[in-house]
Symmetry: C2
Subunit: 342 residues, 2 copies
Amino acid sequence: MALGEFDLIERFFRQPSRAGAGVTLGIGDDAALLELPPGTELVAALDIIVAGHHFLDDASAHSIGYRALAVNLSDIAAMGASPAWALMGLTLPQAEERWLEGFMAGWFELAARHGVELVGGDTTRGPLTVSVQLSGWVERGTALRRGGGRPGDVLVVTGTLGDAAAGLEVARGADELSLATFNALSPSAAASIAAADAIAAARAELRRRFEYPEPRVAFGRRARGIASAAMDISDGIAGDLPKLAAASGLAAQVEVARLPLSAALRVLAPADRARHWALSGGDDYELLLAVSPARLPALQDLAGACGLPLTPIGELCPGAGVTWSMDGAPMPVQPGGHDHFR
Amino acid sequence: MALGEFDLIERFFRQPSRAGAGVTLGIGDDAALLELPPGTELVAALDIIVAGHHFLDDASAHSIGYRALAVNLSDIAAMGASPAWALMGLTLPQAEERWLEGFMAGWFELAARHGVELVGGDTTRGPLTVSVQLSGWVERGTALRRGGGRPGDVLVVTGTLGDAAAGLEVARGADELSLATFNALSPSAAASIAAADAIAAARAELRRRFEYPEPRVAFGRRARGIASAAMDISDGIAGDLPKLAAASGLAAQVEVARLPLSAALRVLAPADRARHWALSGGDDYELLLAVSPARLPALQDLAGACGLPLTPIGELCPGAGVTWSMDGAPMPVQPGGHDHFR
């Protein structure tokens, strides 16, 4: 059933009513009216996801709705800010009730968890594209920036890297992924059965990491005052770290062997492929931070409190550019990360 | 020549440097950091324009860049707010330098006029779509809303209506538009020549109205405290007025013969077609306001000071729904305006 634009807004975009923090006027006027808490700055990010580029054409509506918000939450998390209000630009080939129900269910699931209120937006006909503008706030002068790194700072990453890129392959139905290691793992029939279970679980886990990334909002917020710089890892650390180093006016050294890999990725992928995904795969939405050696224990305690692995992978030093090593030996790494125009 | 995403941002999106009002941190981090003037609320709007839906596939890059900002400025104007910061989501089939230069020239031309700084965004590959999120500010509690209308308020519109819809036909190369009235206007050869000049000028004017709408920012801002309600006319007044009336909990009566038509539209289009476009054409980006009869002269003075026609077209009254009349006789009008899903 085709629905009109205004029906769409009424039926699917209005949130189960609640007194949204700081929302003077939400959906339904020419613009939203919003009030920041006293003493704070506005933090504003915008990300687009496009069918066939950022998610598979057959991705579930639920995962697309979730993901459209998650990638923006990750930007807000990287600033150490509190998310608050979203505007959504939704371009759809047609307005299908079932698709919209799933899409908004995925969105609202994550929005409720992070207190994000949908306060406006625009819907139009066209190829499936979701642009989300997310705003939040941070106490004035306390935001984490890319440019705050200092020489001697330790570089750390949250969670594990490369999972989302592997998960995308799984979602694409890449069987060779598992088979490659399945054979290596199962010399006997009994071991095969155990390995098959482990592989199925690992595949499901990696796919979940791609479709439902968990933005590190609580950790980012509490890392203010401990970390000296932060950014989110959306294009792969090989593409993102050079930006943090350059913004800080410093060089960086990274030991690739230290990049944290999940058990699921290690079960499924050969080591060199896993490393490649960890470096350049993109879509992980973990945080990369710089922290002074003196404050590293505090950041590790915070990560522990958030139930999050935190792994030192290198350091910032005077100079420019990023040097990668593998078990101490220099390793050539393509400087670019995932780039939607390459 | 294909450019990478990061090159794009560096080369085309960074504004000629200036100390942007309230911009603590602009393009180049995970999110922008922005500071509102004291005593103000944040005003936030988002609009998408899609190739083939909101502009012709062969529209100039310059007009697309201009228009993407103009439609958002119109929303901010309708709130009586001051525009300040924009985030842009740009989806492009490919990154062509020349196209981007034209696009950003159109954007910056209008942005400079209204003091809008581009503070962030996202670029990605995909079908040509521009989503713009524009923020501004308004002194707390003074925003113009759709719901502020009172019984007895006069309904007024700025500028003229229907021009953009006619201009779209001109841009599409609709020759019959002019020919229809050309014949009526030119019984003699001498008159034909004069009429041909008038028609060419009218065609150019209408096309300009479609491609380069002028958001009524200064008027909207100064209408606060005079008008009781406002909204912008983006979908045609037949679609938009019912929203203002409903938000105000009132009925509206409109005399269609009073809808302001430009000289260009009257030269080119038969009267019934001109009226149809004025009612339902969309894309005019004029303002519809409600004002008490006592305050109408003040609003007319303001319009005069802004060099803007202001035309009373009807009034708000107790009840619900909109009643349209033509020279006093009831006139049936489709309730819906331009709807991108119909």
